[in-house]
């Protein structure tokens, strides 16, 4: 069972890091599409919006519970995969997300004095950082600890 837990733990860490980084990286693409006025939205816009929401939801769900990756595993394995250290890493992830969101909000506020930052853009950037940062911090800690 120990090997199985190691493997699943590593998989969660890699998926969260990749998902988080890709999620941030794809914002530029998603931004362009979702910036069009809603009256002009075609099916492709809805597909982008759905993928954006789906991606965020999945990332939040995997980070918060890890449940999606551990379906069908024994209760013992699930408990070991969500043990005290994992919970502590999650808390560290939430903290990192909190600070990242505060910093990004402040930077956007400063930028908005000079550049035209719309409310939609500011909300999307802040949301994206708030979703991706905890996942990346968690993955980083798990990696450091040898997961």
């Amino acid at each position: 069972m120990a090997d199985d837990i190691e493997k699943l733990s590593r998989r969660r860490r890699v998926i969260l890091a990749l998902y988080g980084i890709l999620f941030l990286g794809l914002q530029a693409v998603l931004f362009k599409k979702l910036d069009d006025p809603i009256e002009l939205w075609r099916p492709i816009h809805y597909a982008y919006a759905a993928s954006y929401l789906g991606w965020s939801g999945t990332l939040i769900y995997i980070f918060s519970t890890g449940g999606l990756l551990f379906r069908g595993r024994s209760p013992e394995a699930r408990a070991a995969l969500n043990d005290e250290l994992t919970e502590a890493n999650r808390v560290a992830g939430y903290k990192a997300g909190y600070w990242a969101v505060l910093i990004v909000a402040f930077v956007l506020f400063v930028l908005s004095q000079t550049y035209g930052v719309t409310a939609q853009e500011a909300l999307r950037i802040t949301f994206a950082v708030g979703v991706a940062m905890p996942a990346c911090r968690f993955a980083g800690l798990e990696r450091k600890q040898g997961a």
Partner: protein, 60 residues
């Protein structure tokens, strides 16, 4: 804690399995990176056949 574990002949993975945590949790506790809760400390002590006080001490 490492000494107590090796004294009873358990690997980190075996001890982890015995008390239902991951191996990295045992590793980080042994290296002083992670401070376990009271419940986990009690479980560790029971699994290693010793007391919490014998496993963990406050720094002088």
């Amino acid at each position: 804690m490492r000494d107590a574990r090796t004294a009873v002949g358990l690997t980190q993975a075996q001890l982890a399995e015995k008390i239902g945590v991951s191996r990295k949790t045992i590793n980080t506790v042994e290296n002083g990176v992670f401070i376990p809760s009271t419940v986990l400390a009690l479980k560790l002590a029971r699994a290693l056949g010793t007391t919490v006080e014998a496993l963990f001490q406050l720094p002088d």
